[in-house]
């Protein structure tokens, strides 16, 4: 155990995996909170799947596997997919869930097609592009972690500066509009920051599992607090906890894949929070309900008199 903690700080590979996963958890938790509160959890899923064709196109156009180039490609198609969803919802009679499904499957399908095409082209350089499907944190190098940290700082900087605006936009966009805030542009900005969070997660958990890193820490955090600011901090902590513990488990247990372990850690936090969070936990809720049933007694029939006797009977 001590050795593992020592490695966490001094082992090059483990440090990169843990740091990369922690940054992902931090940024995903904060931006996922807004997505969950705006009932747009699945938007994250759609836009992360929509990132796959971007990775392939960026590789085909430039011929490099430099992570920043591929991430920018991912960001562009992810962002286009999101705008397409928002446009479909605004301009057609197709509802949001259907629009999400359409964009997700079309973009992901194109991505898989391009990926297969690249893999069959016998290019010696192509190896490992498919790691973006489920992530491969073990191959993270320090430069990539630095890239993730820079992208994450930019995204979190926006959230910190525009906290009040994003809160109002999430709670009551119409009211925000009457106050003069450009709700459509703020909406696009907040969604674009979610795209950045997805870019950070592509190497660690991949396009398929990324949505869980947006939804799980936020859903868990909501259980513990009734204040948005605290929810953001908790979601960030839960995300980081899931990231680091997932990385440690994957390294210590005969090299299990990191991405799925991070997601499983996040899921454990969600399950624990759903069951045991003080005010909203299912366990306490069930106990409360059972207790209340035991205390249930007939309501008073007349506004005064005759009730105290029956109340005493009921409780004895």
């Amino acid at each position: 155990m001590i050795g593992l903690l020592y490695d966490l700080f001094f082992d090059y590979t483990l440090r990169n995996i843990a740091l990369g996963s922690a940054i992902l958890g931090l940024v995903g938790g904060v931006l996922g909170s807004f997505a969950v509160l705006r009932r747009q959890s699945l938007l994250g899923d759609a836009l992360s799947h929509a990132a796959l064709p971007g990775i392939c196109l960026a590789y085909m156009l430039t011929g490099t596997r430099t992570s920043l180039v591929l991430l920018i490609g991912a960001g562009i198609t992810g962002w286009l997919g999101t705008l397409l969803i928002l446009m479909i919802v605004r301009e057609t009679r197709i509802a949001e869930d259907a629009a999400l499904g359409i964009v997700l499957s079309v973009f992901f399908g194109i991505g898989i097609m391009l990926l297969t095409f690249i893999q069959q082209s016998n290019d010696a350089n192509q190896a490992g592009l498919d790691k973006y499907l489920f992530g491969q944190a073990a191959t993270l190098v320090q430069d990539q972690v630095v890239t993730m940290a820079v992208l994450g700082s930019i995204a979190l900087g926006f959230v910190f500066a525009l906290f009040k605006e994003f809160k109002l936009l999430s709670f009551d966009p119409d009211f925000a509009g009457t106050l003069g805030f450009p709700t459509r542009r703020l909406n696009i900005l907040l969604t674009s920051l979610t795209v950045v969070a997805v870019m950070i997660g592509l190497q660690t958990v991949g396009v398929v599992l990324m949505a869980a890193m947006l939804i799980a820490p936020a859903a868990a955090a909501r259980q513990w607090t009734n204040r948005l600011s605290r929810m953001l901090v908790l979601a960030a902590l839960f995300g980081m906890l899931a990231g680091v513990s997932g990385a440690l488990i994957s390294v210590s247990q005969a090299r299990l894949p990191t991405g799925p372990m991070v997601i499983l850690s996040a899921s454990m936090i969600v399950i624990f929070s759903l069951l045991f969070a003080p005010a909203r936990g299912i366990v306490w809720d069930t106990l409360r309900r059972r207790r209340d049933r035991g205390r249930l007694q007939a309501p008073p029939i007349t506004p005064h008199g005759g009730q105290s006797a029956s109340a005493e009977r009921g409780s004895s």
């Binding site: 509160l37 119409d174 009457t178 106050l179 204040r227």
Partner: protein, 263 residues
């Protein structure tokens, strides 16, 4: 040239808190509001009355720039909404937001200050004092720290009213504040309307209940896609106009409003 010709000194529209000219709003090819001309005079409590689908909420939302308008012109004291934003307060329908949002009553009321704060600045101690005072005005100061999902429907409505008060506006638009509230809240809203009137504010309220309308309001706007009639409650609110507003559903109305009339 447009400006100088449209704002002569004696034009009553230029001085009115709200002046709507030729307003048409459409959803695709279906008109929701058709050619509305409407002026609300200063210091009035105006009720917008009409059947479901008459465009009452649409009227408020398009006036506040939340919906695109197909044609028309809307001014507040002679100027555009963008220029007069700070003079206008808004109470949306209670059902338009998710009340399970992680925030408390005081925080929601503070949102009324955001327009004055502008970008980046956070609400300070003074905004907090103002928000608490507004909660006090609607009888909700004891619930300031309460998570908003733990408030009753009427209490949530009063939080929304307090938020509009925190905007410190001259003109208030309220979308069905009386819908589904308890008797305590109804009394609180009526008292608040009276206070706003005493303070010289202009208030425009979408209202559903025909029985209470003449008691609560002194100005009446009858709407059914087109403007049917608008003016002082005593002159406009009569069976003839209501019949023209509600059309076939009048059997119900005449029972309520004219018990002496033969059905």
């Amino acid at each position: 040239m447009e400006v100088s010709s449209s704002a002569p000194g004696g034009d009553p529209r230029a001085a009115a808190p709200v002046a709507i000219t030729d307003l048409t709003v459409a959803y695709r090819d279906k008109p929701v509001l058709w050619d509305i001309d409407l002026t609300i005079p200063e210091g009035r409590l105006a009720a917008i009355i009409g059947p479901n689908g008459a465009g009452k909420s649409t009227l408020i939302k398009s006036v506040l720039g939340l919906l695109p308008i197909a044609a028309g012109n809307i001014t507040f004291y002679g100027q555009s909404y963008a220029a007069q934003r700070r003079l206008v307060g808004y109470v949306p329908q209670r059902g338009s937001v998710d009340w399970d949002f992680p925030t408390d009553a005081l925080d929601v009321v503070m949102m009324g200050r955001y327009g004055r704060l502008g970008w980046l600045r956070r609400p300070g101690r003074q905004d907090r004092e103002i928000a608490l005072e507004c909660l006090r005005q609607v009888g909700m100061v004891d619930y300031a720290g309460r998570q908003i999902s733990q408030l009753s429907g009427g209490q949530q409505q009063r939080v929304f009213l307090a938020r509009a008060l925190a905007q410190d506006a001259q003109i208030y638009f309220m979308d069905e504040p009386f819908a589904g509230v308890d008797a305590t809240t109804e009394r609180a809203i009526v008292a608040l309307l009276a206070e706003l009137r005493k303070a010289g504010k202009t208030v425009v309220v979408v209202h559903h209940d025909l029985e209470t309308a003449p008691d609560y309001f002194d100005w009446c706007v009858l709407l059914n896609v087109r403007l049917i009639a608008a003016g002082p409650m005593s002159e406009v609110f009569n069976l003839d106009n209501l019949q023209r507003t509600y059309g076939g559903r009048m059997a119900f109305l005449s029972e309520h409003l004219a018990p002496g009339a033969t059905p």
